[in-house]
Structure formats: C-alpha cells, structure tokens
Symmetry: C2
Subunit: 721 residues, 2 copies
C-alpha cells in the first residue's frame, strides 16, 4: 500500500492541459490486455488525457468569479466540480485500500459530495469556504502525481476487473469523463460573461435547412441487454446482469427532433397547454414558467441557441435539447394532431434500433457519429451522421426514453461505490441513451446506462416512435422499511449462526409429516413474505399464502410474478447493504404457478378459504389480536383428518394481543399455565395432538452484528371432527 | 399415570371426621422408610388423619351462612378454604404428572387461589357462586379417593424426595396442615354465633396468676440453619440450603409475654402512643384504630379472650397474641421505660435459644410442648411447658422475630410450587418461629420457616431479648426489572447456543493480550453487572468497575459482599423462573477483595480514576451520549504503554447517542465511514492499534425462546503518548 502523503516521487515531468491536443480523444481501454506493462501504459494515457481534458474545460472560464457563482441555484459552483473529480480518486483509492492516507482532508471533505438536482433545501453556501482555483489546481497536481505513481508502480494482478483494487483507478477516470460532460452543461448554463471561446472547444459551424422527419418501420425482435463481469470494458453497476425482451414492431423517427420540428410545438402554444403535459411535467412547467427550450434565447432579431461558450443564431437543423417533460409533451401534442400513438422509445426499443441499424462500436478510428469530441464541441445537424436507415442513434445529443432506470437480473452494487445507481431506482429517473457530442469513455458503449431526473437538462433531446406497446419495467424498488427488509432476509436471505432457513425447515417437516396423506390444498396462514408458501408448493398441488399485512404479501406476489425482491439490510448505523433474491436463486421457480397470495385476517378469514388438507400457522398466534378466536374456528378450514401445524416462540406482547387474550403464559388458578396448555384447551374439541412439541430455531438479522435468535415451538394437530 | 376422572375404585370404606379421634395426631413421616409397603401405609395414615382433622374443623360452624360470610374482609369465606385444600392436591398432582385430568374444573378454578391478606382491591364476591358445603364435601370425597388410590397403587420409586412425583402428595398433606392452622384463625375471627364448641376442639381450662417474666443470659454461639435435599422429612423450599451465623451473647425473656405482662403496655397508653410504633406499625394503627390486642374483648365485667369457638374471661397467664407491630411497640415501650435494648429476637437468636435449651424434637410420643394438638385447642399458661431454662421455645403460640424471611444459600424453588416463598422475599414478611398449639407436621420441625406480613394475625405472640446486635439479613430481593434480570443472566447465568460467557471471554482475551506486561490496576468501564470486573481480578492486582447505572453496579457490589444475586427470568408471557448466582458458584470468590465498584459517567469520569495499566470498555461506546468525548480523553486514564480494549456491536441508536454524535456508521463526505474508521480517527492522536478487530459473540436471553444474539467487534489499542 502506498501512502498518499506526504511526498510523492515525481515520475515524469508534469503535463498541463494546454500542451497537448490529441487528434482523437482516448477511448475507454480494453482491460483484458495481458501485457501488464502495456496495460499500465494504456491506463496512464487514459488517465492523463482525461485529467488534462477536464482541466482544459475550465479554461473557458473568464475569471475566478466564474468559479464561485453558481450557474444554477440547485448545484454547486464550478470550483466544486474542479476539485471533485480529483477528490473522487482519493476516496475510491482509500476504499480500495490502494492508498492509506488522504492528501488534503479539508479539500476532500469539501469536494466529496455533489448536490442532487432536486434537493431544494440541501444547499447552504455558508458551509463552504472555497479555495482559489490556483489552490485547487495545486491539489489536482498532487492527485495527478499520486495516480500516475500508482499506475506505474502499484502491484498489478490481472485481470483488472470488478473485484480488482485497480478498478478504483478506472472508476476515477470514467467518473471524470462523466463530469466532463455534466460540467460542460453547467458551463453552458453559466452567464455568457463568464465564458470565452477556446481552441479545444470549437462548436460545429455547419447548419442548414432542417430535414423533414419521417417514420421508419422497425420489425419485431428480441433485444438482449446487460453484460457479465468478465466483460473487457469498465462498466457501472447498473450495466451488469441480464435483461431479455421481445420488442413488438414499431415505427421510429428517422432523425432526432430538430429545433425546427420542435418549433411547431412551441408555436402551437405547447408550453401554454397543460393538457399535453404529464402531471409531473405540469408541476415542472408551473414551477419554471418555461415558454421554450432552456437553451433557446429569443431576441428581437429572432431565436438564438446558447452553446457552451457562445450564443449563435438558431441552427434549426440541429437537434432540439429538452428535458423528458418537454419531449413527452411534444409527443402528446403530436399524438393529438396526428392520431398516431406517438411517444418516446423505451430503452428496449432504443436497443432494437441500435441492433437493427447495426451501429458500429466506437473504435480507435474517428467515430461515425458526433461523439467522443471527435468532431465538435456542440451538436451538429440531425442529418449529418447516418447509422443504417437512421441518423444519430448514437451521438449528437442523448435521447430520452420512457423507461425509468431499473436493475437487471443479477444486479449488484460495487462495494466502493454503493450509491452510484441505487438512489436512482425510484421510478423518477429515466434512462437516456446514445450519448452526446461530449460523451466519451464508458458513455459511448452500447452497454452504457445513464438516467436522470425527468426535469434535468443535459445535452439531450429525443426521437419519437409510434407504438401502443409499453411494458411496465420490472420493479426497481429497494425495500428499506426496516421490518419488511428484515423479513425479506429472514425468508429469502442468508443463514446466520448455522441456523437453517426457518420457512424451509418448517415446510420440510410438514412434508415429512404429511407423507402420503392427501396433499392437494395447503394454506400458509400468516405467511409474511411467503417463503413457506413456495416451499410447501413443492409437495402440495396448490398453496395459498395469507397475511394480515398487504406489504408482506406483496413480497410473495412480486416473487410469484418472477420478479426479483430487492431490499437494503442495515449494516451499522445508517450504512446498508443491497440484496436481491428471486425464485430462481432459491430453486423455487417451478412453484410459482402453484401459489396464490391474499391479504386477510386469520381471526376473521373469508369463507372461501376452506377445504385444506394442511394449514401452517408459523409464528402467528402470538401476533393475533384474538388467538382464541382463531384457534376455536380453524378446524372449519381443514378437511376432517387434515393437519394443522402451529409454531410460535410464544412471545406475548400487549402491543399485539391484549393481556386478557393471551392463551397462556400466566398463572391460571394459581398454577403456571403455558401457551401449550392453552393450545390443548382450545384445540381439544376438534383436534388431537399428533406430534409432541419440538423447537425449531430461527434467526432474524437486525444489523450486521445484531440478530434475534429465537426458538419456535412446533406442534402438529389432526382434525378429528 | 392415573386418570383423576371419571370413576375411582373404592379401596376401603369411607371414614368421616367424627368417627376417629386419634389420641395423638400423626407426625410428618420419615420419608426414608425403605419398605415401600410401610411407606405407603404411613402416607395413607398421614393423609387420612389430616384430611379428617381438617374436615372436623369445619364441624364447629353452626350453619351454612357461616361458610359464606367472610370472617375478615380481606380473605375468602370459609367455604373457599373447605374446598381449597382438596383442589390443591389435584393441581399439584397434575403438575407432577401423577394424574392427567381434573376432577371438577369449575370447583378447581374457584378453589385454586387464596387471597393475600393485603390485597384490598383484589376481592370481588360477585365473581364467586359458591357451591353448598355438601357439594364441597362430595368433591372432597372424590379427592380423598383419588389420593388414597394413588398412595395405594401408583408406582413408587424410592426415595420420596424433592425430585420425586410423590413429593406432590406430601406437599398436599403438609399444605392442608398449614390450612388447618390458618382456618382455625379465621374461625377464631368469625362471629361467635357462627361457631360452637366441639369435642375434638376443646380449649385449655387451666389458668392462674401470670408469672413475672425474667431475663436469662444466653452465651454467644454459632447457629447452623438449613437442610439439604437428602433430609428425611418434607420441607418447603425456604428451608433448604445453608445459613451459618455467630450469635453474640444476649438475654432473653424466660416466658412468652403473657396477657398480664402486655396489659401494662395497654394501660400505659401504648396504643395511643405513636412514638413506640415503627412507621409501618403507625400506618397499621392509624388504619385499624386498634386499642388492644385483636382477640381481647372488653366487657363491662372486664377483659375476655376470644378463643376459636368461645369467649372466656381473660386468662392473664396465657401468652398474648399480637401482630409484629404490636409486639415491636411493646418492646420499644419497654426499652423506653427500662433503658435496656429490648427488641424481638432474630431468627438466628431463636435458633440459639432452641439449641441452648436443647429442645427435643417432636416424636411419636406426646410432645413436651403445647403443639400438634397434643393437649389443647387453645393456648395455655406461659409457665406450663418448660424447655431447658425457658418456657415455650416451641409451642403454645408462634413467636415473632425481627427477621424478614430471606433465602438461604442454595435456595431453589420447587417446580410445582414456585410461588410458595418467593413472593414473600420482599422484606415485608417477618419470620415466626416455634409453632402454636395447632401447628403440626412440618410446622413442628426445627427447620420450619414461616413468614407473614407484619400486620397479620396468627396464634402468635412473642418473647423479647436484650441485645444491640441486629445483623442485616442477606438480600432476599429477586430482581425482576426486565433489563437488570437479563443482564444478571448475561453476566452470571447460563450459556445459550453454545456461546461462551461474554465477559469471561473478553477477560480471557485481555489477560492473554496483556501477558507479562504491567497488571496492577485495571478499569472496567461500563461494567454493567460487573462480571468482567471479577474476571479481570483473576490477573490484575485490583480492578475498578464503573457504570452509569447505579442499579447495575449494585449487582456487582452485592456479589462482592459475598451475597447471592437473585433474579427472575421471563420464560413465557408472565411466567418466570427464579435464578440465583454468587461468586462461589462461579469460582470467583477469591477476587472479591480485589474489586471495587462505582457509579460514574464514562464521558465525565472523576479525576481519581487514572493510572490504569488496562481499561476495558465493553459494549460501551454505542451507549454513550458522547462517544467522541470519551474516546478523545481516555488516554489520560491509562499509563503510557497501557492498553485500551474496546468492544461494540456498533448498534447506534438515537435514544442513546444523538445522531450527530455517532462516531461512524454513516456516509461521510459521500463514502461509507464505519465505527471502526471513527475509532481510528479519534484514537490515533494517542494510540496505536495493536490487534486487528475480531468479533466476539454474545447472547442475551429475553425469554425462554427469544434471545438477542450479537457480535461485538473487539479492538485493542496501546497508549503511545
């Protein structure tokens, strides 16, 4: 391990951003390079060009004040972003244990956390005593030396993959490439007086009459998304795993929507017509009072377009840049005037277009797309780069989709960056695809998946499609209610202290005890998250799971749909880990058509639930408001000769069961009267005990180091009459 | 196992109470009789004579109304006691699994629970639809058959001891003998019209001038109380175990205080002089407005004494019958007028008298004392039965002592009667010794120990002693605060799930890590119940335990005094088990002079606590209001080179530690910052980490079937500067 502090060996003369001007900006490296020296050289080049290019971006600023004044109120000033990408390296290298000390704790605290674009209350400038740009540059130089030194001298075990500490280095570079783009957007939103033209950031000069858009038929086909951890290129967590989908035939616009095409919507009063806007979009429109796209500038002399460092007369044939709400309102308007099912493409449809047009991956050659800074520091005409029958499937500007970002099957967070994607699994962040003129590195790969809040601005526009078919995306919700998460883990998660899965143990006992007896219908009463319901369905023809809590039942329903149950588990304080399970993982996928789940009250069960050969009531009776009512009526739900399996730790609590309704666990007529005594008393009119009580342990994880470890008394009863 | 129901074989003709009149009432049997037939015969005789004699007591009642009207407001009417002793057999035989069914569930519910003499609010006659005496007699006959049948036919494994199911039979008989006495007291408190004389219940006719009491010197000596479970005679739980005491020289009155002697106190205005009464006695006096002993009746013709079935002119030479408060007030008055240290004897002093006078045990011969109904159905003159130099050390009336009942070392509850004594371990129940004219069976043994609320009436009086020496009795308190009990068990109790005692494991690790280094002074900070303090004292010369909670510290203090820590442990609902531990049990008695305990605040420790070679802070930091304050100052308490051992599951809770004071377990500057990171940051100015973190498990029992099972991260730090 290297120390980040105090003195770094200078391994080569410092480069500064202006000295270099690569003809082609470096591509994200193939990490399967087997020559370690070649790999070190490649990473060194990739790091330096990225670090340089990022610094060159800030050279367009005209004065120190440009660093301190916020371009938009909801994000930090640019000085933060200038330091942030350097601090990110230090933080991730520390977590990966490639270094053991900080370079500048004060800076690294200040430059650590960006501001989410929607946190109105979060930002308080009083907290920040920003350093000067020169101080930040000096700090960046320290980080530059550190990273170069590591790349040249740190022990390197191949492969450099997800599990390798060197992943932190690539992560830092790719992270800086993302900020290259997002900082360019902030600069584009800055006052004109704070920016100046720069030889490395020359916008496109080409413009002409916008082409008339037309719809192209796209045949149905399957798309396969996702990649595995053996992939040769760096990826963010959300790219891994697998997703397959059959996409129905649809039509898509040949070009991205141009400024010209969007003008019709503006002139038609689109910004004054709430009916075209989705409810969330109406809220945004109401808040901002927008009248036209954000980078459009209306002057007496006509419309202009704000680019990164200048305003130019409106290039009508360039793609319009809007947020999701504006794009969606345009589609709704167009749907209204054409009668066609106009909407944005889904992520799957974008891949269908990509595959159908056989878009070529970006190589070391100049791209056949306005991407990677290979051509311009701006958009260009929508009819400049053809890809198959279409234009701009990749490059020029990002393209909004209808699809909120969601995790693929097999999604996993990376330990040193567990909040890259998970906070966006909230169905409020939509995917953008294809990349823009400044997208580079990982952003240019087919696998790349980025998502932003729907009201956010990037260099992003859209193309539209005609199709009625919009599939709901798989649930991306991570359950973080403490109790629901604990039960998800209790039912479907890992085992602790060597204690076997409780639901599975009970189901196995049940199946053993039922033996060759009738096993058509079973009922899992108080099924909670439903694991025993699935386990019983291995033996029974059909199993019904019922729980009082619709939220618990929801976990079973979700799994029975074939989806993945996702939850966060408390580790320590506020720190969590992310977990997911589905029936496949548990060898239970065959059972999903043999189960059904309902919300219901065990003390007041609907009449339809009857005629069962077997009923399981696991850890239920001490959570009922009237266990006696349940016990004295449960025989009606079983066939004569049917079996009732009860399990309970008899943890009576007045919060669940009024004291007078406990069935045992007190002195009765002066003598100890146990819950088992209570069961005998209440069940004897219709049941005989057919197994002596046994205890089955279970463990519920509360935190990484704290567990409930209990014993549930299991009894088996046969209905006699 | 026999079924108590439905039909019982009639094994011999029924006896009724009036047919038999044994010259000598049967003695409690020697249970080491090795001939089982002889033993069955003996138990049969003991049962039948007891059952008969008890029934004959109710023959003094004049009418059914006498069964239903309560003699005193705070206890059930006599019909209850008529049924109760029979039901007791059924209940205990069920618990001992000698029978499996009830005889009469309704009766057995009604007759199960007596009423404690102090529960003012507990009794509601509306609940009771008492049966007729004839119905109860029929029920008693069923129970009689049941028990006789068992005694004659149930399998009998010798020895009949504490662990034998037959113990329930003797328990039932001895229980009935107790009620023979307590019911006789209730009858004595009944209206005269409800009672009549009876040939089996003839009081003493002898009376004369009361002797003048005098003090006799008793030399110092040791007494040994308690017995072990191999003892040949039935005993109640409180008699087992061992207690040894050195009793200083004292003087004792030759006679019990007679009515005559007590009259002086009455005439001196004792009942109108609160200054002679203890505070609790003043409360009783105030409530009852008593002016003389409860069985004294003042008529125009002078004082009379109420006996069980009649009133007689005051026999001035009989012992006065009073409660503790009256006896104590008499002593205080006498102390005041004599200047002598007059008080009641302690239990130890009563044994000293018993041993010194070489009182003979009761045998099959007529007793040399007014006891066992061998002579009278009442008291007799205080100078009738000499025992050594004294009179009435046993027999005539019970004698109040200064000693609240407490458990001997080795005390254990009996599983089928866990609330015989434990509810009286409250320092509000004082021991009475010696027995009365109606005391029989176990009550007549030297080992017998009965205690009643101090305001309660029995056939009880007192003798007084002169001595300044009153030793405090050992704590008899059973901790039943949930948290304190759980910690008592956590520190000193059993192991669960095979997880070794946590405090011991930590101390062993500490001793191993300290090795040959200095080990003079150690500090156990957050010592809770103190187990690790004792464990560390195996190696360190002196160990100080400090906890924020004085109640926790109290457990360590009590153990260090050589006393026994007693606590109830929740089993299920309200059911508990009784546990006790002392340092002997744990092999720690050698350490008790090497420890000291203090209440203190780890975040604000007094300056005296410094200069330690070793500090343990086990499961402390996540319970502090300011862990940072603690961690940044703790080096001042250690010598340079000293070791600090921290353990924690890092269960941060805002209830203990405000969120802003957590030292880790959150995202800091965007990255996961664990509690261990926080320790490193806060301790590094003065410490180096000398052991990598390890996890040590611990288990806290909440109920019989519910446990907290946690992992504590253990780190070791050396003070460098």
């Amino acid at each position: 391990m290297l120390s980040a502090n105090p003195v770094l060996r200078t391994t080569k003369p410092m480069t500064t951003a202006t000295e270099k001007k690569p003809a082609i900006f470096t591509r994200t490296p193939n990490l399967r390079e087997e020559n370690t020296l070649a790999l070190r050289k490649q990473l060194h080049e990739y790091f330096v060009t990225t670090f340089d290019r990022y610094e060159s971006l800030f050279e367009v600023l005209t004065c120190d004040q440009a660093y301190y004044e916020k371009p938009i109120s909801l994000r930090h000033p640019l000085i933060f972003y200038y330091g942030h990408t350097a601090t990110f390296f230090v933080n991730k290298l520390l977590l990966a244990r490639m270094i053991v000390e900080r370079i500048n704790p004060r800076f690294e605290s200040m430059f650590a956390v960006g501001v989410d674009e929607m946190s109105w209350d979060d930002l308080n400038d009083a907290h920040y005593q920003w350093p000067t740009p020169a101080e930040v540059k000096a700090y960046r130089d320290q980080v530059r030396f550190l990273v170069i030194n590591l790349i040249q001298t740190a022990p390197l075990q191949l492969p450099v993959d997800w599990y390798n500490p060197w992943w932190a280095i690539i992560m830092g570079i790719e992270h800086e490439r993302i900020h290259l783009e997002t900082s360019s957007v902030l600069i584009r939103q800055h006052k004109l007086e704070y920016v100046k033209t720069h030889p490395q950031w020359i916008p496109c000069q080409e413009t002409g009459k916008a082409p008339v858009n037309r719809l192209i038929q796209v045949p149905a086909g399957e798309v396969v998304l996702g990649k595995d951890k053996s992939n040769a290129y760096y990826g963010w967590d959300n790219e891994y795993g697998v997703h397959r989908a059959d996409v129905k035939e649809f039509q898509a616009s040949q070009f991205l929507v141009s400024n010209q095409e969007f003008l019709d919507f503006v002139l038609a009063g689109g910004y004054e017509s709430p009916q075209y806007w989705e409810p969330e979009g109406q809220g945004w429109l109401n808040f901002t009072q927008a009248k036209s796209p954000t980078f459009w500038v209306k002057k007496n002399s006509g419309w202009y377009l704000r680019l990164m460092t200048e305003e130019v007369p409106m290039p009508w044939d360039w793609p319009v840049e809007v947020n999701y709400h504006e794009a969606k309102a345009f589609c709704n308007w167009k749907k209204n005037i054409t009668g066609l099912a106009v909407r944005l493409p889904t992520e799957d449809e974008w891949y269908r277009l990509y595959d159908e047009a056989t878009v070529a991956p970006i190589t070391a050659e100049k791209a056949k797309a306005n991407i990677q800074l290979d051509y311009f520091a701006s958009s260009c005409p929508v009819n400049r780069f053809a890809q198959g029958d279409f234009y701009d499937l990749v490059g020029n500007v990002w393209q909004w989709t209808e699809t909120p970002i969601y995790p693929f099957e097999g999604f996993d967070v990376h330990t040193i960056y567990d909040d890259f994607t998970t906070p966006t699994f909230d169905e409020r962040h939509n995917l953008i695809k294809g990349g823009s003129w400044i997208s580079c590195g990982n952003e240019t790969l087919r696998d790349a998946r980025y998502a932003f809040r729907r009201h956010f601005f990037q260099h992003a526009g859209f193309r539209y499609v005609i199709s009625e078919d919009v599939k709901p995306v798989p649930s991306s919700h991570y359950e973080n209610d403490k109790l629901l998460s604990e039960y998800a883990e209790f039912h479907y998660g890992d085992e602790y202290f060597g204690v076997a899965n409780f639901s599975q143990s009970l189901a196995n006992l049940a199946i053993q005890w039922v033996g060759d007896a009738a096993h058509k219908k079973a009922l899992d009463l108080g099924c909670a998250s439903g694991r025993a319901t699935f386990e019983l369905a291995k033996h029974f023809d059909f199993v019904t799971g019922i729980d009082f809590s619709a939220r618990f039942v929801g976990q079973g329903v979700l799994l029975a749909r074939g989806e993945t149950l996702r939850y966060t588990l408390a580790d320590e304080g506020e720190l969590v880990q992310y977990k997911s399970r589905n029936l496949n993982d548990l060898g239970l996928s065959e059972t999903k058509d043999k189960v059904d789940f309902f919300q219901g009250d065990a003390c007041n069960l609907k009449s339809q639930f009857t005629g069962y050969d077997f009923i399981l009531a696991a850890n239920l009776i001490d959570r009922l408001y009237s266990p006696a009512k349940f016990l004295s009526g449960i025989h009606e739900r079983l066939v004569v000769g049917g079996l009732l399996m009860l399990t309970s730790p008899y943890t009576w609590l007045v919060d669940h069961t009024p004291r007078e309704d406990w069935i045992g666990g007190f002195k009765k007529d002066g003598e100890s009267f146990t819950s088992f005594d209570g069961l005998l008393a209440l069940l004897s009119p219709h049941f005989e005990l057919v197994q002596q009580p046994i205890e089955v342990p279970f463990v519920i994880r509360e935190t990484r180091r704290k567990f409930q470890h209990s014993l549930s008394e299991v009894t088996l009863w046969k209905r006699l009459k």
